[in-house]
């Protein structure tokens, strides 16, 4: 239920952005940019599995990918398009996540598709929130043993999941972006493996206008 609310909230924010885009003459109301980003992930999992007890530690890795930045409207009369309050930023990222346990790094390589609704609190600083879809490309190792449970991680390959992200980003007029985002996984890894992936991501990017 909580998960449904989060998604509905994000959809609502996205709809508001799209509505503001749709209300005016499109070419004049929207500044769209294409960009790239990359950065560091600090990830772990939340373990809701009662049958496997352990304390997951953080794992450091990276992410990189492409994005489209849609910045709607303008802030003041006479201000240029792309200075408005709202924006939308779909991304396509390769994101290496996972966790560490007993000195062993457990890796999950994801393809993620976040769609972030942005609220520009200033012309350069925005806060963002939105859902993301994830697709698990691979795991390492293929099988691990945690708390005497033998887990065939490789069988999770191709699993899809959803989550929500919340963060903030700074954009310079030249196109440099620096952001921080917390991604909260909402999907269990499997019916009988109640792990949810959580990631703190710090990114730098560049928007091509």
């Amino acid at each position: 239920m909580k998960q449904k609310r989060l998604i509905m909230l994000t959809l609502l924010m996205s709809a508001m952005c799209l509505a503001s885009y749709a209300q005016g003459e499109a070419p004049k109301q929207l500044k769209s940019s294409f960009g790239v980003k990359a950065g560091m992930n600090l990830s772990t999992i939340s373990n809701g599995d009662a049958s496997i007890h352990f304390s997951p530690a953080m794992k450091a890795d990276f992410h990189m990918g492409l994005l489209a930045n849609l910045h709607f409207g303008y802030r003041d009369e006479g201000a240029p398009v792309g200075t408005g309050w709202f924006g939308l930023q779909p991304e396509l990222l390769y994101s290496r996540q996972g966790f560490a346990v007993d000195g062993e790094a457990i890796g999950f390589d994801y393809l993620t598709l976040p769609v972030m609704a942005k609220l520009y609190v200033t012309r350069n600083i925005n806060i963002e929130a939105g859902p993301y879809l994830s697709y698990l490309l691979s795991t390492s190792p293929a099988t691990t043993v945690i708390d005497d449970a033998e887990i065939p991680l490789s069988n999770l390959k191709s699993k899809t999941g959803i989550g929500v992200g919340i963060g903030a980003e700074y954009e310079t007029r030249q196109g440099l972006t620096v952001g921080v985002r917390y991604n909260l996984g909402l999907s269990d890894m499997a019916n009988n493996l109640q792990w949810k992936s959580n990631t703190l991501a710090v990114s730098v990017g560049w928007l091509f206008f």
Binding site: K4, S32, A68, A149, K159, S187, A190, N191
Partner: protein
Amino acid sequence: MKNIITSIALIAGMLFFTSCNDKPDPGKDLDIKYQLTVSINTKNVVKDLKDLDNTDAFPGGTIDDGSHVRVNFFIYDADGANVYESTQIVDDFSKSVEIKNSLKPGDYTLVVAADMVENTGDKIEFACWEFKNTDDLENLRIVDLQYNGFKYKAMGVSKSTINLEKAESVKINVEPVGALITFYFSNLYVSEIAYLYYTWDKNSDYYLVNEEKSNVSNTDVENEYEIEAKYTGFYDQRYFLPVQNVTLTWATLDAKPAIIKQGSTTFNAQQAVNQIITVDVRTGNTKVETKSAISLEDIEKSRKMQGKK
């Protein structure tokens, strides 16, 4: 160009939104296996067994004739199908055995059997018991090979169930499945006695593990013994699986041979209840005692007699 990017971005966004449903994809069940660690203690199999001199037959679980302890371990799933089995041979009953195996969550039956064998490494040279139908719990049986193993035929079985939902450690104490029956024929010093004859009428064929009971045959029993009665007393020890109403028949004979005295007595062999059946061949009196050792008086007598192993 910007319109194209915008359109792609919007389409991606719309695709994403339409792919989201109320319930996240939980994925399929993973074949997670949980480790089951089983610590097996076999000491109880021989704990109460006594020799005629009232000492422990296997002091501290040790074995005096070079035999070793065979520990057979089986795991059966909820359908009774064998999913794991192993055999370990250890020096004696004082050594605990630890077995680890990873299993899918579910209900399992654990079966452990411990007996004594003569072996060369992993190769069994001699055993009193044979395991049959090990693939199927319902028909798993431990067959009595009908050897006179005496106290070395002692055997223990444990059957327990476990619902495995996470890694578990369990301890299993293997309990004796049968009992040591001592036949003690006293007062053999009567001069005209040349032979001692005795027999009993029931033997077990096998132990059915799932039903925890022994199967007893009433026919084709060949347990007739003629003993040269040149000793003051005679004893014999046999390991019985549980069996009811066993009749021990005995007779003393002279040199002709003609019967001097004869008699019979009935006893029950019960799990873990070791008994001494004393027959006074001079008076014909018999007594069945459920104790683990004979009396001090008998021990004194036993010093003057010989028995057979």
